[in-house]
Symmetry: C2
Subunit: 228 residues, 2 copies
């Protein structure tokens, strides 16, 4: 048994699990800011980090904590109806609630109020997620492009055509719009829900984005401020 | 603050930190066995894992635990005389003592006594290291061959010529010999020790391997059973 300290938290446009991409890098346009906890706001601790293009984040599945664990889970990529061993998946429901994500590092900001702030892209973390460690991505040891991806190989990522009236998109800050469109194209619905009448609501950048999906087309109907 | 359970331990030929490769994959011939702790010895928990070629291990730097943390460390690859931010390195001395390694999965053994045992290659972990999580390596999201490796880019890994009399090598089990030769070729000495007279002793596969290094040549002088 070992206890961990939260060293930082990430801030993203996604206030809830619904809409969070299922792996890092799937929506490379999604922006996030990593803010260190007060005890770790030391510019020296990130010296040299800006020379790396990618980072590893080890973090906590803070919204998926269960006391007991199940040896098998049902990966959404298999349609949610086949069970795989928990250690053969990246499911949040695992004995220790550790997540692992690689993100692109855009820049390191030295903020007077917050210390070093890391601006990253492609995170699959909801807003406020606690982070336990940040490590540089070392391509000579971490990159295995010819690795065999088991049951994930050959599964197509479903990609929807997104229709969003420009006047609605204007409710989203300009540099977050591509991220929203990427999340929607990735089909955030639970697997195998095929009701074209159903209206989904997803929080994004402080707004509630309401949409329907008919076949391969996702249509945004409204974007309104989220009620706090 | 979050507490973690040890789910497994790895067994390798390296009983101490001295000799452990500085990253995973540097000595691909090094063999290891991952044995689950009794509470996790469930064949269902690894169902489907044998179809992946590589795994991630999240583990504990169990021999490098310090109560306080330093914002900077001195990476051995920079000769040990330049300081970098701890989060820009994979140093063991970090606020949470989490290690991250990718290893090749050779096979999954179903042992009557131990449950599922994972046979892996290329680990940079000493014998008995506690493991907190095992995840499949997903090439479509984890592999970034064009990532920029910061201060690690362009640093040559030093590689020694190893001279070991065949009769000494026979003291090592046949399928561990390539691993030993790989560890020695990687120059296990602390950086910038250049005393050709100095005899180093390294534990490996239950033996004490004694050697000297003169220039680019490492010479093995004896291989004798380790005293327990």
């Amino acid at each position: 048994m070992e206890s961990l300290q939260v060293i930082a938290r990430i801030h993203t446009e996604l206030p809830e699990k619904f809409g969070v991409p299922r792996q890092s890098g799937l929506v490379p346009q999604l922006r996030g800011r990593i803010v260190f906890e007060p005890a770790y706001r030391n510019p020296d601790a990130v010296r040299g980090l800006e020379d790396f293009s990618h980072l590893w984040l080890i973090w906590q599945f803070s919204e998926a904590i269960r006391q007991d664990w199940s040896p098998t889970v049902r990966p959404p990529r298999l349609g949610g109806n086949r069970r795989m061993g928990v250690f053969a998946t990246r499911s949040p429901f695992r004995p220790n609630h550790l997540g692992l994500s690689s993100v692109r590092l855009e820049r390191v900001e030295q903020s007077e109020a917050l210390g070093p702030v890391l601006h990253v892209c492609g995170a699959d973390l909801m807003d406020g997620t606690p982070i336990f460690d940040i490590k540089p991505y070392l391509p000579y040891t971490d990159s295995h492009p010819d690795a065999v991806g088991g049951f994930t190989d050959g599964l197509e990522s479903r990609c929807l055509r997104v229709e969003c009236p420009p006047r609605l998109l204007e409710c989203i800050p300009a540099d977050s719009r591509e991220g929203l469109l990427g999340v929607l194209a990735g089909d955030p619905r639970p697997r195998y829900q095929e009701d074209p009448q159903r209206v989904y609501g997803m929080g994004f950048a402080g707004q509630n984005v309401r949409f329907t999906v008919d076949g391969e087309t996702l249509t945004v109907h409204s974007i309104d401020p989220l009620e706090k």
